[in-house]
């Protein structure tokens, strides 16, 4: 049984964070900070901002990333923007509104004081980023510009063209480089965390592999902060970068950290479909396209004509027919489920049969080519670059894709896991988005965690500890190192016939089929039978080239696939026990006649937190009950 004390401050929600800082958190004095060593794993928005902030405060920080530079992390790919309740538009926005939208969007499966704090810090993030030189879009008068983003009634999204994530990451990266130059942060690039070292229940450091030389080394610290992002790549195909993985999170879980809500996966309805079995990743197209595009498939599964030669009566505008009131603008999850449904019926288009048309023909006829093009020029260009099709001439093909994972390591209000001294920030933790994340909120959460929360909360923990009590000479480090090396040798010793890539692809297909857009009991149970069988085959038939002591990308990948195999099982388990539909988790057994998710607050208003019980044993389920005092529960309703 895990001790899940959320440490949420007992104070009115509007004052909770301030109250917590003033009354509950101890500080470490400037002179003492250098004595404490903090390890940050990951250098994306959360990791880089945390490492830079703590380095600047005077802590002795070491930061690790698997890429060749901290600037490469996948936060860089976020396009749309970042929310902040600045209320620059004078349109009635407020901290409360942003809190309300986030909590409602997450379908009430998040801790409300955490969510409120996120909304409260949102405005400081914009100030911080601008002071670093992030060139946000400006209006003619030189003031910051805003745009609106999915499902909210105010304009609160700040942006830099379609590259907001890149600019924010470069801001955090430059702050990190400043601290590296000042020798406050030591950066280890091309290093991958392969295990967490826990001594007497406390996190004491990590074991990493130098990806260039293959050398395995230990690093001790007074606290470890995991900021390694999401695990969407468990599906093999996702919009994540190729290197994104669950290993750091999963290794922490195996060392005692609770894993919360692993099954909560956000699937985006409008990505460019896979074109064949060789497909390596998926690219997102902005959802705004649904404002002018009509979605359809041919009525006849054997349709051979080119889309523009198919007459109206042979086209199945399934969203318009099934949801006459909302048509093509149904919520993300409904659009995604219906696309899968028609394709499963054999009506899908494109070489793989997993795609639907998004047609701008009607909009072009009505508004003219120029009007449509001016609105979507960059998206049309991006689409054409990848597919070689011009959306003006022939309808786009789209299909849903895994995009973001709301689950992650369980953390308390201080962002510390249940393992003392181990923190998780950004997409790595589970905290703020509940069962569904609103657009333009992920960048906000990463930076709130990194710039403003962890620099304060970590001091509370450190101030209660002696620094540097345990060094890498401790036997726990040797044992962990030995275990890491042992696993690498075992992987290389299988000497079978199949590549890690082929196992990853197969796992992805299982996850997509059984734990994807919509889930049901039988299918999840089948998934839970297929994954262990695949893992067995993995250990019997894996073929790995090369040696452990060199740059060996196949070996890196195989280790990540191994953790994905174990983790996929955990996801299915979570999806199976959550016998309700909420946010992105859609159980077919629980839906309204219109196909909307049907929540069960009586039985499932909790965070499911899994506790590792050893190889081959079932993990134990722990529950953190959620309370809704500030914002009472209400049905998620996008119809009125």
């Amino acid at each position: 049984m895990l001790t899940l004390d959320s440490k949420t401050p007992v104070a009115p929600i509007e004052d909770a964070w301030t109250y917590h800082k003033n009354n509950n958190l101890r500080l470490v004095g400037p002179k003492n900070r250098t004595k404490y060593k903090v390890i940050v794993v990951g250098s994306g928005l959360a990791g880089a901002s945390a490492a830079a902030s703590m380095g600047a405060m005077g802590y002795n920080v070491e930061c690790f990333c698997f890429q060749d530079s901290p600037r490469r992390a996948h936060s860089i790919a976020a396009q749309g923007g970042i929310n902040a309740s600045k209320n620059y538009r004078n349109d009635g926005d407020s901290t409360w509104r942003l809190f309300n939208d986030t909590q409602k969007g997450g379908d009430y499966r998040a801790r409300e004081k955490n969510v409120y704090r996120l909304a409260e810090l949102s405005t400081s993030i914009i100030d911080q980023a601008v002071s670093q030189g992030v060139p946000f879009a400006r209006e003619y008068g030189g003031k910051l510009a805003n745009r609106s983003f999915g499902g909210v009634l105010v304009e609160r999204t700040f942006y830099c063209r379609g590259e907001t994530g890149q600019q924010l990451l470069l801001g955090a990266y430059s702050a990190l480089e400043e601290q590296i130059a000042a020798k406050k942060v030591k950066m280890h690039t091309r290093h991958e965390m392969l295990d967490l070292v826990v001594v007497d229940g406390r996190s004491r450091g990590i074991v990493v592999r130098n990806l260039e030389t293959g050398e395995i080394t230990s690093h001790a610290a007074d606290a470890v902060v995991v900021a390694t992002g999401g695990y969407g790549n468990v599906f093999y195909l996702s919009t994540n970068a190729k290197g994104c993985n669950v290993t750091a999170n999963f290794r922490a879980y195996r060392k005692g950290a609770g894993f919360a809500n692993p099954c909560f996966t956000q699937i985006h309805p409008t990505s460019i479909p896979a074109s064949g079995d060789y497909q390596s990743k998926l690219t997102l197209m902005s959802e705004s396209l649904r404002n002018d595009g009509r979605i359809w498939v041919p009525r006849d599964a054997d349709e051979k004509r080119a889309p523009k030669n198919i007459p109206e009566e042979d086209r199945y505008y399934y969203l318009e027919e099934r949801y006459p009131r909302f048509g093509n603008l149904v919520p993300r999850d409904v659009a995604a489920r219906n696309a899968k449904d028609v394709c499963d019926q054999g009506l899908g288009v494109g070489p793989t049969g997993y795609g639907v048309y998004l047609d701008f023909g009607a909009a072009i006829q009505e508004k003219g080519i120029e009007a449509v093009k001016s609105k979507y020029a960059n998206l049309f260009e991006m689409y054409q670059r990848i597919t070689d099709d011009d959306p003006v001439e022939t309808p786009m093909r789209i299909y849903p894709a895994v995009h973001y994972t709301m689950g992650g390591l369980w953390v308390d209000y201080n962002l510390m896991t249940n393992v003392p001294g181990l923190y998780a920030i950004g997409e790595s933790n589970f905290a703020d988005h509940g069962a569904n994340r609103l657009g333009a909120s992920s960048l906000m959460q990463c930076l709130a965690d990194g710039y403003f929360i962890i620099p304060v909360t970590i001091g509370d923990f450190l101030s209660r500890q002696e620094s540097g009590e345990i060094t890498t000479d401790h036997p726990a480090f040797q044992e962990t190192e030995a275990a890491v090396k042992d696993q690498i040798n075992k992987l290389l010793a299988v000497k079978g016939t199949r590549t890690a890539q082929s196992f990853h692809r197969e796992l992805g297909k299982i996850m997509w089929e059984h734990c994807g857009i919509s889930r049901n009991k039988e299918s999840l149970e089948e998934g839970l039978r297929k994954i262990p069988a695949l893992r067995e085959e993995f250990w019997r038939d894996l073929k790995l080239p090369g040696h452990p002591e060199e740059l060996n990308q196949s070996l890196e990948h195989a280790g990540r696939v191994l953790d994905f195999l174990d983790f996929g099982e955990l996801m299915c388990r979570d999806a199976l026990l959550r016998d309700e539909s909420c946010g992105c988790h859609f159980r077919e057994e629980h839906q309204t006649p219109e196909g909307e998710a049907e929540r069960n607050d009586e039985d499932y208003a909790f965070v499911s937190v899994f506790e590792y019980k050893g190889e081959g044993n079932e993990p134990e389920l722990n529950k953190e009950p959620l309370s809704f005092e500030a914002l009472p529960l209400a049905a998620r309703n996008y119809k009125t």
């Binding site: 902030s53 600047a56 890429q67 060749d68 530079s69 600037r71 490469r72 996948h74 790919a77 400081s124 914009i126 100030d127 911080q128 601008v130 002071s131 670093q132 030189g133 060139p135 879009a137 400006r138 209006e139 008068g141 003031k143 063209r161 590259e163 890149q166 990266y173 430059s174 702050a175 480089e177 400043e178 590296i180 130059a181 690039t189 970068a241 190729k242 290197g243 074109s275 064949g276 060789y278 497909q279 390596s280 990743k281 670059r385 990848i386 597919t387 070689d388 710039y451 403003f452 620099p455 016939t497 590549t499 890539q501 082929s502 073929k543 080239p545 090369g546 060199e550 740059l551 196949s554």
Partner: protein, 258 residues
């Protein structure tokens, strides 16, 4: 599609390296260039040979990790396109394709097509930032910025740090990269206090890393996947010149930011 590949193979930093030839006959036009490389690697692995190491991550043209010289051009034949966004339809059936790593003495080859670009990080460390701590900051609207200026700064900030400019330059110069960061920060009001110091120290770091000098070949701009303009090099030169005319005052080490 059938294609013939000539790929640079080098087992480690100290290995001399050589070109090796491979043939692939199951390539389709819809494959991305890196998916073609994945296919090659799958084939090599199954055959018991060493796959080709190459850097890649986001595969949507923004992380700057992918880095191949394809038929003599950084990121291949298509302009304003990273290697990961290049598709096999840009090549003919039966094509012969030469794939090499970035070639520059400041970017040593680590293995096969993977190079060490840490010199870029060190150039940024030399001043590619606005000295800053996390914490309360003035409201951004208290310092209005002319939108065209903000947009031009963003044009420069769009640099993904891939290093194609260096690979494209006959001199292996990193001027486009350095000037993009100097210009991005030097144009904005927030970047003014450190503007000239920044230009000087970043250039000095760039030189000490072993990058060559700029001779205005403009190959960097032509092969930059983000189309960064060499006008920024002019800006850097201007700032550098001004910086050189004033007495050097190095207080950075003594002053505490904020």
């Amino acid at each position: 599609m059938r294609i013939k590949l000539h790929v640079w193979r080098q087992s480690s930093r100290s290995d001399k390296g050589h070109m090796e030839t491979y043939e692939l006959d199951n390539v389709v036009a819809e494959m991305s260039f890196l998916e073609m490389m994945d296919t090659l690697n799958e084939k090599l692995t199954v055959e018991g040979k060493e796959p080709v190491a190459f850097d890649h991550d986001c595969r949507e043209g923004v992380c700057g990790m992918c880095s191949m010289v394809i038929n003599g051009e950084a990121h291949g034949p298509k302009s304003k396109t990273t290697t990961c966004q290049l598709y096999m339809r840009h090549f003919d059936d039966g094509a012969e394709i030469f794939i090499e790593p970035w070639r520059a003495s400041a970017f040593p080859v680590v293995r096969d097509l993977v190079v060490d670009r840490s010199a870029f990080d060190r150039i940024i460390q030399a001043g590619g930032y606005i000295s800053n701590h996390s914490g309360p900051k003035p409201d951004p609207n208290s310092i209005p910025i002319e939108p065209n200026l903000a947009e031009t700064a963003l044009d420069a900030a769009t640099c993904i740090g891939c290093g194609a400019c260096v690979a494209a330059c006959p001199n292996g110069s990193a001027m486009l990269f350095t000037s993009a960061k100097v210009s991005h920060l030097g144009m904005l009001p927030q970047g003014q206090p450190e503007r000239f110091d920044r230009a000087k120290s970043m250039v000095s770091q760039m030189e000490s890393e072993g990058f060559g000098s700029c001779r205005n070949y403009a190959e960097c701009e032509a092969q930059c996947p983000k189309g960064i303009s060499i006008a920024f090099i002019g800006r850097l030169n201007s700032d550098f010149l001004k910086a050189s005319l004033v007495e050097p005052i190095d207080r950075r080490g003594d002053m505490k930011a904020q």
